[in-house]
């Protein structure tokens, strides 16, 4: 029965990772941008969410407002800053690193350095019995939310016009532009959605991972690991990669506690040695 618990833990964590990775994967897939501020979006989402909950007591409100705020931030960053460095990896790295620092300092300034763990919404703060153990309902809700988001994104990508444009843009931005698709608007929109997903991850992950200085960097690394393992630009890769990393991390810590620090990086290094473009990626 304990293994069921461990597996559920891995899957719920994996769903959180999927939310973080999906946004990053989309952004990279379309714009080839390695966004180092992705973890910052997560953290801003968590902090803003915590303030909203503190002031209004509503987790639901936080879940709606915080991601929208961050989406706006993302849109501004893309439109006025990142747009200029299309396909230039190294300037993008410097630019997003600069913003990482700026956001980190501002967050420390505004919210202070003490760790915050978001309170769970009342509806999901209990636990249910699984066999002879109890399991928090929140984590089960997290798995459900992750699946719903995955379905929405998949439907969007495969079944809508916007999604078709996205796929076209991923394949070849120039041709897509020639076909009359407003690539520029598409870019901003996608970047904003990516940021929104990260912030959503921040609020949803808040009761589990929490918010503190340094979490932005750690989450960013984690998201990158998932995206790379799953393959850049692939939604399916983000989901499978997320679940894989979530389970590996969980079971890795149980079987090899001494190696807890790199349970994620060893498999990543191994996978990349054999499949340099990740499990589902295309170069």
């Amino acid at each position: 029965m304990i293994w069921v618990i461990h597996t559920l833990n891995g899957i719920s964590f994996g769903m959180l990772l999927f939310l973080l990775a999906a946004g990053l994967s989309l952004i990279y897939g379309l714009m080839k941008i390695l966004n180092l501020t992705h973890g910052s979006y997560y953290l801003i989402g968590a902090y803003v969410g915590s303030t909203i909950i503190a002031k209004t007591g509503s987790f639901a409100l936080a879940l709606i407002v915080a991601p929208l705020v961050v989406a706006l931030l993302g849109a501004v960053m893309e439109r006025y800053f990142l747009r200029r460095f299309h396909l230039q990896e190294l300037p993008q790295t410097l630019l997003t690193f600069g913003f990482l620092f700026i956001f980190a300092d501002l967050m420390l300034w505004i919210w202070g350095g003490d760790p915050i763990v978001l309170p769970k919404p009342a509806a999901f703060s209990g636990s249910i019995s699984i066999g002879d153990a109890r399991y928090p309902t929140y984590r089960l809700a997290l798995i459900a939310v992750g699946l719903i988001v995955a379905l929405i994104l998949w439907w969007f990508q495969e079944r809508t016009r916007l999604g078709a444009m996205l796929r076209a843009g991923v394949d070849d931005a120039e041709i897509a532009g020639a076909l009359g698709i407003d690539v520029s608007l598409l870019f901003t929109l996608v970047f904003a959605v990516g940021a929104l997903l990260a912030a959503l991850g921040g609020v949803l992950g808040g009761p589990i991972i929490g918010a503190q200085p340094g979490a932005d960097f750690e989450v960013m690394l984690l998201a990158f690991v998932v995206v790379i393992v799953g393959g850049l630009g692939s939604l399916r890769g983000a989901l499978i990669g997320g679940l894989l990393v979530g389970l590996l991390d969980n079971f890795g810590k149980i079987f090899f506690p001494e190696l807890a620090l790199f349970t994620i990086f060893v498999p990543m290094a191994i996978i990349l040695s054999f499949r340099p473009t990740g499990l589902f990626g295309r170069l």
């Binding site: 300037p91 600069g98 990482l100 620092f101 990086f265 040695s273």
Partner: protein
């Protein structure tokens, strides 16, 4: 072009005279700048000249430092054994990374080098009995002949200058030109009959060697080692130094190293919001000097020369 030897002579005079003219703290700071200049130049060989972007360069820097510290402090070996051992470990690790990473390109290469470096970091952090864990290993003694600041400074100056000469010679050599060709187009070089993989492998190992030398100097500079010597933040920092200075210019990264170390030193003493200031500088540099500081200089210098 004749300005270059003059420039070098001037620089030589400044560096040699420095310890006799400025206070000891600045001699120490210059030593640190020289060490990181070497570190940055070694990464530029990889990024700027071979076209391989790495986010794990601190692994070579750090493993050299740790080897020296562990051999000297824990096993009480002399520096004549420890120092070469450190360099050897850096070279060996470079070979291992190259073997595992060279199948990847672009963002994937960045990530796999990151992952490999994090594994090395994890070992340094976790293997408390050998490496001291997150407390690090203090108590390293400098060799007697460089126990004072000034002689250590001259040792570092000499080694960094010599390394620079070697690196310059390397990039101008046929091997170096081949690397640059590979950076431009691997397929073309392959078609021309070059063993692209072997060239890249050698470049990786040489870059690791010089990074290891920088790490060795840094551990003697600080007289301790700690896990942040090889943390990803360290790798990111040296990458930033290269980008800010100007990728593929060798001198640029050295200047980038000096600029960042000086900025950090000065700004962090003025305000606790030095991270914000540094972030703004990075953003501003990207917006106004996208080719780095060297690029900025060249543009303004070249622009003025136009008739």
């Amino acid at each position: 072009m004749a300005r270059i030897p003059l420039f070098i002579a001037l620089a030589a005079v400044v560096f040699v005279a420095l310890p006799f003219v400025v206070p000891s703290y600045y001699v120490g700071l210059t030593t640190k700048i020289l060490i990181f200049a070497l570190f940055a130049m070694s990464l530029d060989l990889l990024i700027g000249y071979t076209g391989l972007a790495s986010l794990g360069h601190a692994a070579f820097f750090g493993i050299s430092a740790y080897t020296i510290a562990v051999l000297s402090v824990k096993l009480r070996m002399s520096e004549w054994i420890a120092f070469p051992a450190g360099l050897t470990m850096a070279i060996a690790l470079g070979a291992v990374f190259a073997l595992l990473a060279l199948r990847a390109r672009g963002s994937y290469l960045l990530m796999i080098t990151l992952a490999l470096a994090q594994v090395v970091w994890g070992i340094a952090f976790g293997w408390r009995t050998m490496t001291g864990g997150d407390d690090g290993l203090p108590g390293l003694r400098r060799p007697a002949f460089v126990s004072d600041e000034t002689s250590f400074y001259f040792l570092v100056l000499g080694l960094v200058a010599a390394s620079t000469v070697v690196l310059v010679a390397l990039i101008r050599s046929p091997f170096g030109l081949a690397l640059q060709g590979i950076r431009e187009s691997e397929s073309r070089m392959q078609a021309l009959g070059f063993n692209v993989w072997r060239h890249q492998f050698v470049a990786f190992v040489i870059a690791a060697a010089f990074a290891g030398l920088a790490g060795a100097l840094y551990v003697y500079y600080n007289r301790f080692v700690s896990p942040d010597f090889l943390h990803v933040v360290r790798s990111a920092e040296v990458l930033i130094m290269v980008i800010i200075g100007g990728v593929g210019t060798l001198l640029g990264p050295a200047i980038g190293a000096a600029a960042i170390i000086l900025f950090e030193d000065i700004i962090s003493s003025q305000t606790q919001h030095w991270l914000l200031a540094l972030g703004i500088i990075y953003v501003a540099t990207t917006l106004f000097a996208p080719r780095g500081l060297i690029g900025l200089y060249r543009e303004r210098f070249m622009a003025r020369r136009k008739p």
